[in-house]
């Protein structure tokens, strides 16, 4: 697995950076203007998406600019595909 990223810092988007980690599980560092109200949900969406792609033992840095869940899923998937080289959209 490599370090990879997807997304931008535009309003309504989220920048996801994924790096392999020695620690087991998924570690998420989140910066968001809506962290107090939606931080829990944003992290849950990231974990769920990575879980669905069977990506584990990663460090995720997420810089959120007010993205909706669909955007978060798309950016996390793209970053994971780039990091693992496993194209989940091919089949």
């Amino acid at each position: 697995m490599n370090t990879a990223s997807a997304g931008t810092l535009e309003s309504g988007d989220i920048l996801i950076q994924i790096a392999p980690s020695e620690k087991p599980g998924i570690e998420i560092e989140l910066q968001s203007p809506v962290a107090a109200q939606f931080g829990r949900q944003i992290k849950a969406v990231i974990e769920e998406t990575l879980g669905g792609l069977e990506v584990n033992n990663v460090y995720v840095k997420a810089v959120d600019k007010g993205a909706l869940d669909c955007t978060i899923r798309a950016r996390v998937s793209a970053a994971a595909v780039r990091a693992t080289g496993k194209d989940v959209w091919k089949d």
């Binding site: 309504g12 809506v34 107090a36 109200q37 939606f38 993205a67 909706l68």
Partner: protein, 472 residues
């Protein structure tokens, strides 16, 4: 000249009899370009004053240096219409021991006039003044350095403060006429290099929003206005300055031309858009409490039917002749609207203060038709919510809410609903808008508010409407 009142700032302060615990006041007509508040409070700190109450018509990003003066005990109380930037954030996190008192522009004017907000010394920036204190928000001299147009928010201070210091960057020959602040109200005149950066009032040029959502919202709001029953020859109108509000004027403009309808007056913060319609003969008169850009400021100088008005005559709730009582239609923005049509324009959905009451409460309450224009969501932030974070304008004052997902009409205004439905507009229940927002973004966790109160929101009659709590 004989009897000149020109002195240094330090001498003016000394003469004013100011002492610890007093109330000092300021206007915010230079908005982001204001230099007077920081200049005066720096001087007061240098002279050793403590425990002062700062009563400004509003405060913004440029007033971040007040943070140090609060820490050192020079300023211990604040009254204002709004707070923005670092100062607002620091106060939201508990910087000031006493809660900030927030009043609308009309509420502040009447509080000053009725003695609820007594001012000891008013420090009023002016773009021109003569040695006796006749002062104005523009200058006709060759040495003009600044322009802010209307001095509407400063006029109650000038009239009712115990002591008035005019601060100008253009001392002109007596008599400085026509004047906004009359010499008989003024004790001292101070000449400085600059009272404000006029370029920061706003960009000065008319720029139409290119944001497609703003354009959609503006078109919908214009349809509400046109079909409301109030869009008749001789109607009157006020708008905010947000992208969508400004764009509404553009679409109403087209309809006025098409139908041959003219407005009798436009009120409030006056923009270049309104000046343009006035110059085209579509708006008879402009009643200007605050010039929102350089075009408006120049117009008030040159056009006799562009009239400056004090905050009291603009929007007082207790003075029954104030202009809002004659206003037909107002178009306003919102940070949040709730299912009871209550509006918040002061506290962000992160719990941090980031706005101003302005004339929101006043115009919504006294206009015949109040229209709130706001998107359903801003990023992940919902604008139609079950309950507003902070109550600013009560729902009974709000008639119509325009969003890109439909138009909600206050159940108390069945007459309006009928007219808009007949015109084929997409009328929806406000509860369905809140539900739609929640379906897209999820249910937000509660904000981490603490016990301590950092702000008190007054209604325009001088009663407490809501409290703002410290946020983590």
């Amino acid at each position: 000249m004989r009897n000149s009142k020109v002195v240094t700032l330090e001498e003016a302060i000394r003469r004013s009899g100011l002492h610890d615990g007093c109330t000092i006041s300021f206007h915010h007509h230079f908005r982001g370009g204001d230099k007077v508040v920081n200049m005066v409070v720096d001087k007061l700190a240098e002279m050793g004053f403590k425990d002062l109450h700062l009563a400004a018509s509003s405060l913004s990003d440029v007033h971040a240096p007040l943070i140090d003066h609060i820490r050192s005990g020079v300023i211990t109380r604040i009254s204002t219409s709004g707070l923005r930037g670092e100062l607002a954030t620091a106060i939201s996190h508990g910087l000031l021991k006493e809660p900030v008192i927030f009043r609308s522009h009309g509420g502040r004017g009447s509080a000053i006039a009725c003695g609820e907000l007594p001012i000891d010394v008013a420090f009023l920036g002016a773009s021109s003044a003569d040695p006796l204190g006749n002062a104005c928000g523009y200058s006709r001299s060759e040495n003009a350095k600044s322009i802010c147009g209307s001095l509407g928010y400063a006029l109650p201070d000038a009239r009712y403060a115990k002591h008035v210091v005019v601060i100008t960057d253009d001392l002109v020959e007596y008599p400085n006429m026509p004047m906004s602040i009359a010499a008989s109200d003024v004790e001292s005149v101070v000449v400085v290099d600059s009272v404000g950066d006029s370029s920061k009032i706003s960009s000065g040029a008319i720029r139409d929003s290119k944001n497609p959502r703003d354009i959609l919202l503006a078109k919908q709001a214009a349809k509400v206005v046109i079909n409301s029953g109030y869009f008749n020859d001789g109607f009157s109108i006020q708008t905010g300055t947000g992208g969508a509000s400004l764009a509404v004027v553009k679409y109403i403009h087209e309809s006025m031309l098409a139908k041959g309808i003219k407005a009798s007056f436009a009120l409030g913060g006056i923009t270049a858009h309104m000046v343009k319609l006035h110059e085209e003969g579509l708006i008879g008169k402009l009643i200007d409490v605050q010039s929102f850009d350089k075009v408006a400021a120049e117009s008030i100088k040159d056009d006799m039917f562009h009239q400056e008005v004090s905050a009291v005559d603009y929007a007082s709730g207790v003075h029954k002749g104030s202009a809002v009582h004659a206003l037909d239609i107002v178009i306003l923005s919102a940070l949040e609207v709730d299912v009871d049509f209550n509006v918040n324009v002061l506290v962000g959905s992160d719990g941090v203060i980031r706005g101003a009451i302005g004339g929101h409460q006043d115009t919504a309450a006294d206009s015949a038709l109040s229209i709130i224009v706001c998107p359903l969501l801003r990023g992940r932030i919902p604008c139609v919510v079950p309950r507003v974070t902070t109550l600013i304008t009560p729902g009974k004052s709000v008639d119509v809410v325009v969003t890109e997902y439909g138009i909600a009409v206050n159940p108390a205004r069945a007459d309006i609903r009928e007219k808009l439905e007949a015109a084929g507009l997409n009328i929806v229940d406000i509860h369905s808008l809140a539900a739609k927002a929640e379906a897209i973004i999820g249910k937000p966790d509660p904000l981490p508010f603490k016990e301590r109160v950092v702000g008190i929101v007054m209604n325009r009659d001088g009663e407490v409407l809501d409290e703002i709590h410290e946020i983590e």
